[in-house]
Amino acid sequence: MTSDARVSALSPPATNQSFARRFESALPYILLLPSAIFLLIFFAWPMVQALILSVRTPDGVWTTQYLERMVRDVNFTDALRNTFLIILIAVPLQFVFAIAMGLLIQAKLKASGLFLYFWTIPLAVSDLAAGLVWLAIFSDRGFLNSVLRTTGIMPIAFSWLSFENYGTLLMAVVIAELWRATSIVMVIVVAGLQLIPNDYLEAAEVFGASRWQKIWNVMLPMIRPSLQVALILRTILAFQVFAVVIALAGRSMPVLASEAYNRYGELNSNGAAAYALVILIFSLLTTGLYLRALRTSEEEMGR
């Protein structure tokens, strides 16, 4: 009897305690739940639906006809080639410029704070607006032609954006992309550089590193994680390059995203979904490639 009484007296607090402990361990998941539900409903589910669109007819039959039709389309190879050309030219240049700009800001020259503000202005400009800015420069009666004419360098206006001048059209798109998207890479680079403890840079100086050796052997390796993030971000976004191209080239330069847009405009959502699938696959492939190629070894992680 007495032992029973003791047990029953002790047990309620015991269960309370275990409930509290269980609640505590579940708390992170409970707190994550709302955003997880949000992402599922508004991102994951629409994405899955969109991808299903590319391989299923409205009647519910699984098919590859949309993909086949996309591949046979006259613009498909052009769109693929243009997208890759823009990525291959613009992304490396963005990194070269971003790293150079980041190092310049980090060099603590006079007014380097001012540079930072100027160089981040494009971040606040929408894609389409950026495209229109450069359209005003490159169009037949744009700033570039009028400057060239008034200075007498080129008496006759040149059609920079004509589909007949593919080289200059591509150049214009790349320049606009550089102007628009270098700053985000630079911001990431600057953030990475600022995280390098000063001791490492001083150690490099003491042990005889010249300016270039310091950049090459200490600063760049130490911002590798930041560069990796920026590279993945930029490449994925470059696969979706759209508004700048539309503004500057209209239909003269098809890219993957603009083709998806055009299919959608033709009320062919299945065709649009097929292009979206292609963009997704390329994005996943390059992300995987970057993660492998730029992997920070386990040993280096715990600094």
């Binding site: 100086e205 003491v206 042990f207 390796p221 280096e300």
Partner: protein
Amino acid sequence: MGEIRIEGVWKYFNKGKVAALKDISLTVEDREFMVLLGPSGCGKTTLLRCIAGLEYPERGRIFIGGRDVTDAPPRSRGIAMVFQSYAVFPHLNVFENIAFGLRMQKRPNEEVTRRVNQAAGLMRIEKFLERYPAQLSGGQRQRVAVARGLVMEPQVLLMDEPLSNLDALLRLQARAELKRLLQEVETTTVYVTHDQIEALSMGDRIAVMEIGEIVQVDVPKEVYENPATLFVGGFIGTPPMNFMRGTVKSVNGASAITIGDQVIHAALPAHFQTGQDLLMGIRAENIEASTQSSPDAVPARVLVVEPLGSHLLLTAQVGDTPIKVQTRIDFPVVPDQTIYLKLESNQVRWFDAETGVRFESGEKMSVV
């Protein structure tokens, strides 16, 4: 060869508002182990950074090996440095960390391998050459940082509190090891620390710094026994030197010091004048405590008794000045007891009560 000569160096911070170094002059002999000792903010690290070329003084010259390096960048000064944080590069393994300086000089591969292995052997880290810093303990990282300096065979090795990030037990071990090592390599070394025990145990000489100035440069024994100022005596030693304020009196025609209402007969130098205020300094281990009164002993009331294993540390009150006294561990004493203190007369030091500067013991200053 590796001599460092610092001449009248001034360094300002905050656009000239704060003088971190005030007219510092110091010569470190070739192959000497010089310790810069002082509390935080005294300018010892700034002085080290000026020698390294990481800071440039506003006035004064710095010579290394007879060459004026005042305006030279760190890499052309023939120095190597061990940083307080070690600054071992996380993206390089131990081998490449040690090799860093040689790689910057584009030395041939075989020379790099030979010298890195030699330095790693000296620091006993040969087994870790392939590892990355994140896989090393604090003590091992510290060795990598030292090896990276030694491998350069520098004219001058600079060390900025290299042991301060280690835990107490490891620090004791690393201290002895570092001392052995630096005796072996015989490089001119400037070693910054705030730990007076480190300074006493390692340095050939110690430069004690206080708010931007060097107050005393001498061998550890001298700095300990004959502190140049009140500050040095109070900073060095565990416990620090005892100071008692007294006044010079003439008692029955003989000179004496009164501390509170205590009269201590002392043979004072002739230039001390009656009525002059003095500070009498004596270390805890130079006071002999007894339970028996005697004519040459000063009575004191015991406040605290601290057994420290090998000895007792007493806090006792003479007049109204608390002082520390070291006795045998079996000395029979309880708090509030009155004990009698005999001061070892040749260990008593006299300081100017105004300036805190020690009077040179040109003449005998015995306590009778």
